[in-house]
Amino acid sequence: MTAFIDLDDSDKAFIFRSINGNQRKINPSLVYDLIPMLRDRESVVFEDRRCHDLVVFLNETSDSPWRDRIGMVGAGARIISQSSFISALKKRFKKGHLFTSMDPDFFEERMQHELLVEYFRAVHNSYSVQWDNKAFFLCKYVGVSALLSLLERIIADLRSKSVVISDATGLKIGRDTFGPYISKLTSFSFSTAEEKAKGISYVGEGGINELTKRVISVVFGN
């Protein structure tokens, strides 16, 4: 709280105008970042808010391959809806996953931004034909969910090799780091028609689990 004593009328008017004319809400995610206890106590609210902010960021930032490709409220038909993308991201906030408050590298929102943009740019570089293409499930809910699980596996692999993931200046890995992993994945086409011809379809949470095993197996061979 701030108090002013003996201000003249013009200063009062100036402060009144500044407060009421320029005031903006701060990003609610900042509140949660600044108050870790609140983050833990209101984890569901926090996750919803953070995931929504991440999806908005991916859909709006100029470097993101997702820019204008996510079905936000009021947008035209898109390959993945905002709510599906949020559902895929929310799993990363569960205990033991990448975006929990205990994670040493990806607790902060800015790190999550950087990581997701760099990772999906690496995916897009290797899958430009399949990217945002309805004939492929790469950018649909099942594909995004599996790709995010693969990302966690890649980060675990990098950590096991003592690769520096981040420091005080920000993310130390980038699309080039992900390139070799995604190159291994490209033998898998994410083609709906090809999988259907083999009698395979990835539907619902069971389909996501099956697809996740498949992509991790293609990249890591286990």
Partner: protein, 325 residues
């Protein structure tokens, strides 16, 4: 050299409305052997197709080919379409200033139409006529733009491949494209148009429907009303000196019932210019041709409009493709 591809990564059908990202365009055009030329995709492909036994009946199913030279031809087409669009914009200005509303609207349509063709070429696609045993209308569809793999087909062209299909394709593709300025969304997003071919429909009404066009000669009051409104718009534009300022004004004009298509044509020209800006940065031959084109345009404008204070185009045209900073 043209290579036939038997197992493409995707089918033409799945790529008809594919919207390539800026990164894809950069990779494709960076690797294209661009040389300024008047050789169109049709000029380049037709002799090869004839010599390899293809005829006008060959494209009921798709032919997949790979050749970076096609990407280079598409860039030459994109630049040529942009220049056509610019010429029509200049003609529109002269006609509208003089109250010749009907033909001002028709030339404005062509400015918009050629911009759309330019933007489609920048996405690696074109609708063209191959000269084989008979002329055959086909579309060239980029199946993998980065590696210059294209499908040729005469399917999916629609009932009006000249003045409807390009518009429909344009909106499907650019609806998801990350445009560089909010004003560009007005000409790229399907949500901002009730009918993708609305500009073609208006042009057809003016040109071909009895008593729809040339009202200015029958109603002299309309002649004055139209030129007066147009003059007020361009006088606002004449005070602008940066591209973002122009785009902000045009964003406002684009919802005006009388002059929305005028603003939309200029917004498309600006969009094509901004896309070319980042492509030019990765290919020195394209950049050199752009510099030569700009000089040509400015010489032409200086000849047509010798008094620098009289035409907004003298300020707007040099800003096309100059960046938003």
């Amino acid at each position: 050299m043209v290579t036939v591809i038997t197992s493409p990564a995707a089918t033409v059908e799945s790529m008809l409305e594919h919207s390539w990202l800026a990164d894809d365009q950069k990779v494709a055009f960076a690797a294209s052997p661009f040389v300024p030329s008047a050789t169109s995709v049709s000029d380049y492909l037709s002799p090869w197709l004839i010599s390899n036994g293809y005829n006008s009946g060959s494209f009921r199913s798709e032919l997949y080919i790979q050749d970076a030279q096609i990407t280079a031809c598409l860039m030459n087409q994109a630049l040529e379409f942009l220049e056509r669009a610019l010429c029509n914009t200049i003609a529109q200005y002269i006609l509208a200033q003089n109250g010749l509303e009907t033909w001002a609207r028709v030339t404005n349509y062509y400015a918009s139409y050629f911009s759309v063709h330019s933007l489609l070429c920048l996405q690696g696609r074109t609708i063209t006529s191959l000269r084989l045993n008979n002329a055959v209308q086909v579309q060239i569809v980029p199946v993998d733009l980065r590696t210059h793999v294209f499908g040729i087909t005469k399917r999916h062209l629609g009932k009006n491949p000249h003045h409807q299909t390009p518009w429909v394709r344009f909106y499907k593709i650019y609806d998801r494209y990350a445009v560089p300025h909010q004003a560009n969304e007005l000409v790229a997003r399907e949500a901002y148009t009730a009918e993708p071919a609305d500009e073609a429909i208006e042009r057809n009404a003016l040109n071909y429907t009895p008593f729809k066009g040339f009202g200015e000669i029958r109603n002299i009051a309309r002649h004055g009303e139209f030129s007066g409104l147009f003059t007020s718009y361009v006088s606002a534009l004449e005070t602008r000196s940066t591209l973002p300022d122009f785009l902000t004004d045009l964003q406002g004009f684009a919802s005006d019932s009388d002059h929305k298509y005028f603003a939309r044509a200029l917004l498309k020209l600006a969009l094509a210019g901004e896309i070319l800006l980042f492509i030019r940065a990765v290919n020195v031959a394209i950049e050199a041709e752009w510099v030569a084109m700009r000089r040509r345009w400015q010489d032409f404008l200086a000849t047509v409009f010798p008094n620098p204070s009289t035409c907004y185009l003298l300020k707007f045209v040099p800003l096309i493709g100059s960046g938003l900073a």
